[in-house]
Symmetry: C2
Subunit: 252 residues, 2 copies
């Protein structure tokens, strides 16, 4: 890739999109860059340097530049990146200009909260349907949507062209729900239920397990404790201080 590639821009449906095959690690960071860029745009910035954007996104600038270079995106040497152009590029790559329809299965404790989560609507998604198996929940109104019985999933998924499903059921029902989603034509699943889902290979699954996050933190607590207890152990609150650096985020 020596020549500049002005990678297929948003509006342009001229030829083949020539979809760049980005490293997974890069893909996982693009949404964070996008959030940082939106924030910058609100503050009125028109351009931003790799240094500046990297700081706002919590990564180092070399990584950011390498990531953006994969998009074929262009900054201007000596100047930086055009904020709104980069926003458009990233939104296009992520497919956010399509305002995708999402459904949510399981309207318990967590599902209820997700149904009302404003962050989905504001960042490219429409929650268009809620499902549950519990007849006591079916019919309930949440945030302007009526909870449906899961038997209606196939029909509604077709009507609304739902490609993404969110599972927020107890662990025991998650696989059954996943099978139903797949049967209804859903090809991406975000799973909040602990455990592994088995799906056809054309379906993407991402998992968020809240207890696992805490357990990873617990490991680090345990390690820190065993270090302070031993060698040149720093007694209590003391450290170089306030190095932001990359937040360990949902990845891969």
């Amino acid at each position: 890739m020596s020549q500049q590639r002005h990678g297929s821009t948003p509006g342009e449906a001229g030829g083949v999109p020539a979809f760049p095959d980005l490293p997974e690690a890069t893909i996982a960071r693009l949404p964070e860059y996008l959030r940082a860029l939106h924030h910058l745009a609100e503050t009125g910035a028109e351009t931003v340097s790799s240094e500046g954007l990297a700081a706002a996104a919590g990564v180092n600038s070399a990584k950011l530049r390498k990531d953006l270079s994969h998009l074929g995106s262009y900054g201007t040497r000596g100047v930086g990146y055009d904020v709104s152009l980069l926003v458009a590029q990233i939104e296009y790559i992520l497919g956010l200009d399509e305002n995708r329809a999402v459904c949510l299965v399981g309207v318990g404790n967590l599902g209820h909260a997700l149904a009302g989560y404003a962050g989905f609507a504001s960042r490219g998604f429409r929650v268009v349907a809620l499902f549950d198996t519990d007849p006591r929940k079916v019919g309930e109104q949440i945030n302007g949507l009526t909870v449906r019985h899961i038997d209606d999933l196939e029909r509604i998924a077709a009507e609304e062209s739902i490609a993404i499903g969110v599972i927020a059921t107890p662990p025991g029902t998650a696989q059954t729900v996943a099978d139903a989603l797949v049967a209804a034509g859903v090809t991406s699943i975000l799973n909040f239920a602990p455990g592994v889902l088995s799906v056809p290979s054309n379906v993407d699954v991402r998992k968020v397990d809240l207890a696992i996050e805490l357990q990873i933190l617990s490991f680090h607590e345990h390690r820190k404790a065993s270090l302070t207890a031993l060698p040149g152990g720093r007694s209590a609150a003391a450290s170089p201080d306030k190095l932001p650096d990359n937040q360990k985020a949902v990845g891969s």
Copy 2:
């Protein structure tokens, strides 16, 4: 490591714990192994092969064996791993035998759900305090806990030895809350608010951004769509089928 290392076992506080320094990628998978092991234990299994446990955890067996080898843990060649022994080992490494106290800040939509999330209690954590700034929420009872004003954080954190804090506030207040948590002696933070937190380097932060998860899935939808539209594009629902394989989970 040619000789067997029966790595410091749970009960034993004989000498120095000799904390193994595990690869981050391994640490992030241990909780999933633990969950799978608990599940196996419930079904009455006393031992499990690397193949079997790997399948239950959604990884391949080579990776699992390499991961466990870092613990200095021992299976038995020709047999497999002792389930309850491995459970104890992993719980010890993750520091789950300490039943850590956790506090939660921000009792909105999502915070409310997290406060009642049963998975925390059942997997090694006690949610011992809830905080908010909104005076209308302070005093509210959730799941047996009273919501306190955030000004009480420092006192209560000390009383209850809270080392882990969960942030479930709107993005705008997340940094202020993080500063307060750090001041109160919290050294691990799980952040549900979009954006990057800046904290001292002795504090660990993990981030869960629900919209980012959907955006990553959206990218894959976009890519799948652009592939089916083009080369030897498989028309619709068709694929090798049901290869479980690793769920892309919260990582790094």
